[in-house]
Symmetry: C2
Subunit: 242 residues, 2 copies
């Protein structure tokens, strides 16, 4: 099966709203709730893979890392979809010592994108064709786990059956594709659908992560992170469950 | 000598305006000029080191990488200040296969920051105390080379004697320090002083790199990169040589 075939097949899991559900309406996954259990750090795992776009993962890593700098209990970890290892980003960044897939010990899993325009290169299409990451994401879904899709990472999440027909967003160049797959793609920089939060293209991942800091830890830490990073979120977060 | 002593000593190189000069007023270093020689790619080297802040280097890497994506001739390379090797970022990102220091083959050298608040940890203070990066930067200065200091990378550039009393900016928490060292610290997100361009804290590096794309390659590619990244530069670039 070629990659497009694999994609259609994988995406079909989530077609027509038959997406994996993992307590989307549960209280702990609602906006304003706290992913973090009392007394325990917020544990954020960021998936990386060959062809991952550097800012897609580094933006959220910076935000959650800076949250720790401003005094919050937050742990960040880069992870692969398999064993501990390494990978090379879209712009040549070679990562090593990346942690093994272990979503059971995560409160938030961040899925960045990369390589959407390059059907035959490294990146989201290769990951979808390979199937390991999509399978891992599908099996990771559980009550209490929030997934943050960044940029074309949302395409991966859709192929994993995690998005289905839920409200979401993605990189502007991938919106038509996702709509064609049955997703309810909205025009917002960040869309919060409870345990599925999606950010638009590349730099929007910073906004998406800041929103999760706000939602999980409060607006004060989020504001401190913004000040530290000399960044301000833009646009209305489209919260579907208010 | 303790680190503060080393710093004062190193910074003294640039005190009182006695900074290294490398053709700051030369035509090829003026805003609006082209760093890129005709027919040759714009060659961007981004220095990384233990404790480097992830977004400080990943932001500019993304911008210059995206410039290639939108059709510009741009080469990006992560480099150390010494031999080919690796390092670990402030938030745990382990980089490997990082290129050797070779500024003679660069048109732009980007110097990110990191760890300014942590006097005894990895980051800019350790790099300044060690002296290899500062020496390398001082010796790299030559006509035709533009240096882009990002965040507290400007503190490193000052310790290298590259900033002296020239107009610059840095992370807001490092401004008092730099002023105390004799730098002409301005309140702008990006300050362009010809062959020395400085960006403020963390995310400002994206703006600084976008400005350099604009200056070296033109506003049209810069706008395309912004669109691709779903980012817009903010604030007036303080250009001192117009």
């Amino acid at each position: 099966m070629d990659r497009r075939g694999v994609l259609r097949s994988a995406a079909a899991v989530g077609a027509g709203g038959a997406a994996v559900t993992w307590g989307a309406g549960a209280a702990q996954a609602r906006p304003g709730s706290r992913e973090r259990a009392p007394g325990r750090p917020l544990r954020v795992h960021i998936v990386v893979f060959d062809g991952v776009e550097e800012l897609d993962f580094a933006g959220p890593l910076e935000v959650f890392g800076a949250a720790r700098t401003v005094g919050q209990q937050v742990e960040t970890r880069l992870v692969t979809s398999g064993a501990r290892g390494g990978c090379t980003g879209r712009f040549g960044t070679r990562l090593t010592g990346v942690g093994a897939w272990d979503p059971g010990s995560a409160d938030v899993v961040v899925v960045p994108g990369g390589g959407f325009a390059d059907r035959d290169g490294a990146g989201v299409w290769a990951e979808i064709a390979r199937g390991r990451l999509t399978r891992a994401l599908r099996e990771a879904a559980r009550p209490g786990l929030t997934m943050l899709g960044v940029c074309t990472g949302v395409v991966v999440l859709h192929a994993a059956g995690v998005v289905g027909d839920r409200p979401c967003t993605t990189h502007h160049r991938a919106k038509d594709h996702l709509r064609g797959q049955g997703a309810d793609v909205r025009d917002a920089r960040v869309v919060d659908d409870g345990n599925l939060v999606c950010a638009g293209g590349v730099s929007s991942g910073i906004d998406g992560a800041l929103w999760l800091v706000d939602r999980a830890l409060g607006p004060e830490p989020a504001g401190k992170v913004e000040a530290l990073m000399e960044f301000e979120r833009r646009g209305t977060v489209l919260r579907t469950r208010v």
